[in-house]
Amino acid sequence: MIQLKKIDKYYDSRFQRTFILKGVNLEVKQGEFVSIMGPSGAGKSTLLNIIGLLDEASAGEYYFWDEPAHQIKEKQKVMYHRSHIGFIFQAFHLIDELNVYENIETPLVYRGVKGKERKALVADLLDRFNIVAKKDLFPSQLSGGQQQLVAVARAIIGSPKLLLADEPTGNLHSEQGEMIMSLLKKLNEEGMTIIQVTHNEKFAQYGTRIVKLVDGLVQEDYPVTNRS
């Protein structure tokens, strides 16, 4: 599904070139749940952003469903964001001015889904996530775990093929974190491909495979043996 070949990401300053990522090769198959781990500054988030088409690699090739994603245009990127990729962030990134219902609805609006259908889809998801009672609340009225729950709902409402999570539990305490992680695991079991960046060894065990990144290089890449 995803194929990265010799991906470099660097910034040029006056006298030197600082590499964030250097020659990263990675292949992710459909249905995998990959946890990218590594110390701060290893380039985890940058890698995720490149995979999510939020950022561009400085060099290398990136194939998304065998399409050369390193060559596509802005407009196509928007199409990918609309239909193929969902995002979850550490800071939730909900829109403060919209309530729960509207936040979840947003991607459908941009996709041009009709109002009735939107209603049905959102209601379905609210029900599934058990947050029907909270649908009229605004992000500031929710706990962190609930906010992330809404963010997950928003990320998957368009039934994307790929879910990218940038430290989804980073701002949550452990109980809430576990709740989110088991939700992600469940989604994965239902067939969704997930790539997450995490610091948490324990939460990495929810996935099927761990990729360790150090100083922009893939150091280790191994499957999870006893998945929790």
Binding site: V78, R82, F87, E105
Partner: protein
């Protein structure tokens, strides 16, 4: 989808209620001012356009002499000899207030606008006759046509037709009543007199023994006739019929009001001021610029604040179009709200436009077909301009910037600084202008007129009133009257001027016929020679300094004023200069001629300070005993001179009003800037405070930039304001000085206003707990 976006836009506006309402309110105020000015401007430009066939109506004038008062006889010639002219009518004006009386009931009405004309008047100007005795409005030689409102005033509910009206100069029969002229006409009429009657001619001009009745001629050309060509035809052949004119030109009716040509005294009275209109237009444009700038910096800052939201929307699949539509909606909503508020404000302010512009704006006088496209284009322009901001931001940043650094701003925001400096420049220039206008007004108002105008009362005397002297004596007996004198003409209204009587050095001398006690009553000083003695009757005159200087006399021995009568007048003394006109014009030579037995039109009295109402009542009692049927019209000289500056006073008031709006808008701009700056520098402030910066140091840090901008604005504003003000002062003969302190004070005021505005916000930023500030990171 639109509903979804509208909801988002409105919530975004509500998020920062104070800031949004400040900006939208400011925009509404600015827009209100502009709408008012636009309405006024449009009304002024549509003067005379209500006449149904104004496009075909032209006024005849002499291009060589720059005069529109031409021989009355030309009218008949044109009507008969030139088939290109459909209709033509003469208009002789008198704008001197008069009292007309109903001959039977002795009821009276005061009318000011009298025109002598003929039957064609009503065809040319398409003015409906409400009722008339016969077919034609002027059916008799001494016919008069009065307007509806004069009829009501004079005759009440009685039928005015066939009644006789009297005035000192004429007696006429009302043969028709016409509708009132619309108020946005360049000429006014309350009473029309039949011009066929020689007695109804308003003025006479003689030159080398040939006398003509100068009147204005209005021609209605046939459809499709070119006015310039017609004027040529006219000049080529008019000589056969009339020799007084040879260089005629035509001026369209609708051009008269705002034309820069001054073709006669009626123009001075009734014409609009195109310069003033330009000033107002400039102010309107400045105000709309100021408020647009505020709005623009508001939208820009909103976009920055929304960066996170933009990022989220982008990851959720929003295309550029979506984001642009979002911003566009948000911008438009704010502007539409501002517009609605301003429409409300305009409807509230409309009755007060009289105070602002000296003329109430009437919707009937406004051509909305001209105005609406201008409004629509302005609003569209502002919305477009404001939509540029989001385009700029969207193109400049990358999606990860949006998500990670919601408040990162790079580089010095030169654009914003330039905009703020512009606002400050406008404010400083306007403050200076307002101060100078007031300084000049104070100067002319308190300028020594040369005579003591305080407690000096003037009463108009009716024509053919024989007991003038008795009235003067009776009034003089009242205990509070310290002096009284009769005169023909008075300071402020000269009705006679004669040539200098020196061959080879012709200049005009303003003449006032006076009776006894003139110098004493007016408080004029005799500088040389002696006052009038009874033997001087009709033989002697006094001259003012300006006259003596103009003649070049070193002493008065045996000097004569050789004009007005056989043998001239002996100049027996010299008095100090005094103003007989407003201070728009310089001191002119004045001669006071002594003849206590002639007829006068004015009785002037000096009163002791006291209860004015009671004093007037007593004078009126004396008046009634001698003139039971005539109303007493009185004026105080100081009021009369103050009234000469009413135009300037109105200008001062309205410019002050609009300047205040401009300054308030600038304050809002400054407030918006400091709001953003302190938000941007929250972290910096926090870090500095943690490292031991004092509140005062933070304040200096935040306020320093504004001081620099005020200084830059001051440097730009001063020469502009100086130039403009110098131009304005040129219209005064007596001008105050353009002191340096006006500009300095304007700069200091602007600085003070700016710092006060800034400090309100920067104090808040500086005193905030640094922990709070640093928590953002």
């Amino acid at each position: 989808m639109i509903r979804f976006k509208l909801k988002l836009a409105i919530r975004n506006l509500l998020k920062n209620k104070l800031y949004s309402s400040l900006i939208i309110g400011g925009f509404a105020i600015g827009f209100t001012a502009c709408i008012l000015i636009a309405l006024f401007y449009n009304a002024e430009h549509n003067v005379n356009k209500h006449f149904a066939r104004h496009e075909q109506i032209y006024r005849l004038y002499d291009a060589k002499k720059n005069e529109s008062g031409l021989d009355y006889k030309i009218n008949a010639v044109i009507a008969e000899q030139y088939p290109d002219v459909e209709e033509t009518c003469p208009l002789g004006f008198s704008y001197f207030p008069m009292t007309i009386k109903d001959a039977e009931t002795k009821d009276y009405a005061r009318v000011q606008y009298i025109i002598s004309t003929n039957d064609r008047f009503f065809d040319v100007f398409s003015i409906p006759i409400l009722s008339s005795l016969e077919d034609k409005p002027f059916s008799q030689l001494n016919s008069a046509v009065i307007t509806e409102s004069v009829a009501k005033q004079l005759f009440g509910d009685k039928n005015p037709l066939g009644r006789t009206i009297k005035q000192e100069f004429f007696t006429a029969t009302v043969t028709a009543v016409m509708k009132d002229l619309p108020d946005n006409s360049s000429f006014k009429a309350e009473l029309l007199l039949n011009s066929e009657n020689k007695d109804f001619q308003m003025s006479q001009a003689c030159n080398n023994g040939v006398c003509i009745y100068p009147v204005e001629h209005f021609l209605m050309l046939r459809n499709g006739i070119d006015p310039t060509q017609f004027a040529e035809t006219l000049n080529a052949s008019i000589g056969q019929y009339n020799t007084t004119v040879d260089s005629l030109a035509l001026q369209n009716l609708s051009d008269i009001y705002l034309s820069t040509m001054n073709l006669g005294w009626t123009d001075e009275h009734t014409k609009g001021n195109s310069k003033m209109l330009l000033v107002f237009l400039a102010i309107a444009i400045l105000i709309i610029l100021l408020s647009s700038i505020n709005y623009l910096s508001y939208t820009v800052s909103m976009q920055y604040a929304k960066m996170k939201e933009i990022g989220i929307n982008k990851t959720n699949g929003a295309g550029k179009m979506h984001l642009l539509v979002d911003s566009f909606l948000e911008v438009s909503i704010g502007i539409v709200i501002a517009l609605l508020v301003s429409v409300l404000l305009v409807s509230l302010f409309l009755p007060a436009t009289e105070i602002l512009f000296g003329k109430e704006i009437n919707f009937n006088n406004i051509d909305f077909y001209q105005l609406l496209p201008v409004f629509a284009a302005t609003i569209a322009g502002i919305i477009l301009l404001n939509s540029l901001a989001p385009i700029y931001i969207l193109s400049r940043f990358n999606i990860t910037d949006f998500l990670s650094a919601g408040r990162k701003r790079t580089g010095k925001q030169l654009g914003k600084q330039a905009m703020l400096t512009f606002q400050l420049t406008v404010s400083i220039a306007l403050i200076a202008a307002v101060m100078l206008i007031y300084k000049q007004l104070q100067y002319v108002k308190h300028y020594d007129l040369g005579f003591n105008e305080e407690h000096l009362l003037r009463v108009e005397l009716p024509f053919l009133f024989e007991n003038q002297k008795a009235l003067k004596d009776e009034v003089g007996k009242l205990p509070f009257v310290t002096g009284s004198t009769l005169s023909n003409g008075y300071p402020g209204h000269i009705n006679m001027s004669m040539g200098s009587g020196v061959e080879g050095d012709e200049f005009m001398v303003n003449c006032i016929y006076v009776s006894d006690d003139f110098l004493e009553t007016f408080g004029l000083k005799l500088l040389d020679g002696r006052n009038f003695l009874s033997g001087d009757k009709d033989q002697a005159c006094l001259m003012n300094e300006a006259a003596v200087k103009r003649y070049g006399w070193e002493n008065l021995d045996g000097r004569k004023y050789n004009n007005g009568r056989e043998g001239g007048y002996n100049v027996i003394g010299k008095v100090n200069n005094f103003n007989v006109e407003s201070l728009h014009s310089t001191l002119t030579p004045v001669a006071l001629m002594y003849n206590p037995d002639r007829e006068f039109n004015t009785l002037s009295m000096r009163l002791l300070p006291g209860n004015i109402g009671e004093q007037i009542n007593q004078i009126r009692k004396v008046w009634k005993s001698m003139l039971p049927t005539d109303p007493m019209e009185f004026t105080f000289y100081n009021d009369q001179f103050q009234a000469m500056y009413s135009k300037e006073e109105k200008l001062a008031k309205s410019i002050t009003f609009f300047s205040l709006i401009a300054i308030v808008l600038t304050c809002m701009g400054i407030l918006g800037q400091i709001f953003l700056i302190s938000l941007n520098r929250t972290k910096e402030i926090g870090v500095r405070k943690v490292n031991g910066a004092k509140i005062s140091e933070i304040l200096v840090l935040l306020n320093k930039d504004f001081v620099v901008w005020v200084v830059v604005a001051f440097v730009i504003a001063t020469p502009i304001a100086y130039y403009a003000m110098n131009k304005w002062l040129e219209s005064f003969a007596y001008k105050t000085t353009l002191s340096w302190w006006i500009f300095a004070l304007a700069g200091v005021l602007a600085l003070g206003i700016a710092l006060l505005t800034v400090s309100w916000q920067s104090w808040r930023a500086a005193t905030r707990n640094p922990v709070e500030a640093l928590r953002y990171e």
